[in-house]
Amino acid sequence: MDALEIARWQFGITTVYHFMMVPLTIGLGLVVAVIQTMWHRTGKPEYLRMTKFWGKLFLINFIMGVATGIVQEFQFGMAWSEYSRFVGDVFGAPLAMEALLAFFVESTFLGLWIFGWKQLKPGVHLACLWIAVIGSVFSAYFIIVANSWMQHPVGVEMVNGRPVMTDAWAVFTNNTALVAVPHTIFGALAVAGAFLLGIAWYHLWRRRHDGIDTLGANGKVVPGEAAIPGRDSTDHAVWIRSLRIGAVVAMVSFAGTAITGDLQGKLMFEQQPMKMAAAEAACHDGTGFSILSIGNVGSRNCDDIVALIEVPGILSFLAKGDFTTEVKGVNSLIDQYKADYGTNLPDNPIYGERAGQEIQYVPVMEVTYWGFRMMIGFGGLAALAALVALWVTRSGTVPASRGLMRLAVFGILAPFGANAAGWIFTEMGRQPFVVAPNPDSNGIDQVFMFTAAAVSPGVSAGELLTSLVVLTAVYAVLLVVEVKLLVKYIRGGVVAAMPELAHVPADENEDATPNGGGPGKPGDADDVLAFAY
């Protein structure tokens, strides 16, 4: 591997990893904010417990997103200095705005939320969480504006060989971004939905398994009480509500990703036709959508691919909204790209050993074809499972089957897989460009950059390999630690996040006071750090 390939692997690994934490942060943050609002409105103890339990898991995950996010901002300059020089005038602005307008808000107000349970008035405390969560959504917006400019550069003019921003409005309302933002937020909610569903299922199953909850004669659940802190009948309410919220969120968010994804697809057929043709492994012009293509999809050679099952008309529908328009296949697009952007990389030292090589315009079709299908497949699977879960749990609890419980728990992974597959598809589908050319506007289609020109010329392959190995190792260790902690706190149940349940006799009215505890509790005045380190 040379420096370019190592740098690409590093960017891929660190980004996909970072984007395991991020959707859970965004999605779970929104869900916890809604739950705390419900507690604030109703004062019901189960909502306080849900806030504390899901909030704890949220924080364990949040910190990993923060820690791995710094790498993202630094590595543009470190590993991709030529890219940074080329795009800096337009790409740096959304990144700086993300820090200044969004991430500051998120970090500061989340600190207030974590530590402010006793210091702040309940309404202010709740507002802090909402502000932090809205901050995280804005964060997503700014980052996607930056990314969308790489997919579809707008609002710039070439000056001395570099794109210079001339129209900030165009950059910040790039249609690519406007559909990608809701797609990403729905994708994040799908992660949170499956997370709630799987974990709540496990706890409901455990309560049945331990004989606490039973089924009555009418087939409905009879919630019981065990003489263990936190395992009372309120505990049942915590999990069944969590499960239903999770299932509904999972289904709604899948519908949301489908609608926004369809809009994205239609844009992409115009903006990056090669990416969509490669997503279909559609070699020849046509209308059919491939359900299964065989042959060597990865060979980038269309002669090796046979579409085994094809549904006529669907590809046209995905691209244009009708069933008859011919969609250009890979073969005719190659010629078009060669005519527009050249057959060989320029003889410029910036390309290193690759200078003068023939340009490979077709992305790795194995990745685009299967990435596209995994994204949709995992997403749909999770939504279907959520629907089934709602039906199965209409008795008020889950079936006693251990196998089903395991399935629900492992189902948590499906939306993570869909998110990762979607990003890998859209980033690798853009190759060989790091900044994809914008074919539909006049004058600015010179704004593009080959990935081969983007890497830092002064950084050696050895340095890149060092960082690839170090970061991958650090990330692997931390993933193990995070998952272990999550599992520990998930198994611990509500009482793990609310040790006060174990100390105070089960007087739920106390919890109902939207301040965590009434004035009569001794020791509370000094216990200012209830939720602290």
């Binding site: 910190i63 820690a67 602005a93 820090a99 207030l112 402010g116 630690v481 902690l485 149940g493």
Partner: protein, 349 residues
């Protein structure tokens, strides 16, 4: 006319100064976790002084980095790629430090805590040193060619100035951390922090003074030299305030020292943002490294709205958590009480 690039040079200097002022003390408190705190309760006192604010402080680093990218892309690209390995170390240090804050108390086990305590201490030390080295080198220069790329291999950045800058930020952060602890804690920790502050101030500020003075020798002007003199006065004041027990004034005086010191350093470096040690013609300056006036204008509007807001709500955070923390406030460690036997998901009933 370089009006906007000049404004953005000042803005970035302000962001770095804000970063050092805020994260300086939480880096310092982090470094003191092992050296200063005597037992677990004291460590938790230390942690909880910075607990609500360290993450917000760290965003100043991201903002400084992002603003450099937006306003001076060539500066950002050259500095970050030239310092590849040291910045990798900074990243790893920041990752472990951040995770350690959150995970340290999640398992009630002395070995678990001891590991994360090391992560906090070493992470803070390495991050402070690396960031200091980077800032030192951006004022004194790196071996850059005409394209702004580093010549001479992965360690070509290494120089006495890298060490000086690293020590400067480590020393300042340690002292600032002590001043913060004296201000934010009570009881033994507070008094010990104040004693350490008085005793260590001359040593800990030596490297940052060395950095400021050597820059005056390289490219100082009248006003930047005066700023150095004023900074020394502020340091003497801080020392005297701490000696007489005026912790708030000591902390503010040290802040004034940072402000003046940083003004003298960035002021002396201006208008060069990153000198080339190979050829002065390759120097990156506010004119040849900056973004277009359009982008700088846009960012100026954003900063004019965003920065006062950030200052306001971060100040509010410090107000909310203004109480001193002491041993008495630290609740007992949560003895973890699993509601469910740990055998969940086990293959057998």
């Amino acid at each position: 006319m370089d009006l906007l690039p000049t404004i953005w040079f000042i803005a970035i200097a302000v962001l770095w100064t804000g970063y050092l002022f805020l994260e300086g003390f939480d880096l310092g408190v982090g470094m003191l976790m092992k050296a200063f705190a005597r037992n677990n309760t004291e460590r938790r006192v230390l942690l909880n002084t910075i607990g609500p604010v360290w993450d917000g402080n760290e965003v100043w680093l991201l903002t400084a980095g992002g603003a450099t990218f937006a306003a001076f892309p060539l500066w950002y690209a050259s500095l970050f790629s030239a310092l590849y390995l040291p910045l990798l170390l900074v990243l790893v240090a920041l990752i472990f430090r951040a995770v350690a804050f959150e995970y340290r108390g999640k398992v009630d086990n002395p070995r678990w805590r001891a590991r994360w305590d090391w992560a906090i201490s070493l992470g803070s030390l390495v991050a402070a040193f690396g960031i200091g080295a980077a800032l030192g080198l951006t004022t004194t220069g790196l071996p850059l060619n005409a394209n702004g790329d580093r010549e001479g291999g992965p360690f070509a950045w290494f120089s006495a100035y890298a060490v000086l800058g690293g020590l400067a930020v480590v020393g300042f952060s340690l002292l600032h951390g002590l001043a913060f602890l004296a201000l934010k804690t009570d009881g033994d920790v507070r008094h010990r922090a104040r004693r350490w502050f008085v005793r260590l101030l001359p040593v800990l500020l030596l490297p940052i003074a060395g950095w400021a003075i050597s820059l005056q020798l390289l490219s100082g002007e009248m006003w930047t030299v005066l700023a150095v003199v004023a900074a020394v006065v502020a340091a003497v004041l801080a020392w005297n305030f701490a000696r007489t027990g005026a912790e708030g004034r000591a902390f503010l005086s040290l802040g004034a020292f940072l402000l003046l010191g940083s003004a003298s350093i960035f002021g002396a470096a201006f208008p060069v943002v990153l000198p080339s040690t190979l050829n002065p013609d390759f120097n990156l300056t506010i004119s040849n490294a900056s973004s277009s006036d359009y982008t700088l204008g846009l960012m100026s509007i954003v900063a004019l709205i965003g920065l006062p807001l950030v200052l306001a709500y971060q100040a509010w955070t410090y107000w909310v958590f203004r109480r001193r923390v002491s041993d008495a406030h630290i609740p007992e460690a949560h003895s973890f009480l699993p509601a469910i036997a740990a055998k969940a998901l086990a293959p057998k009933d």
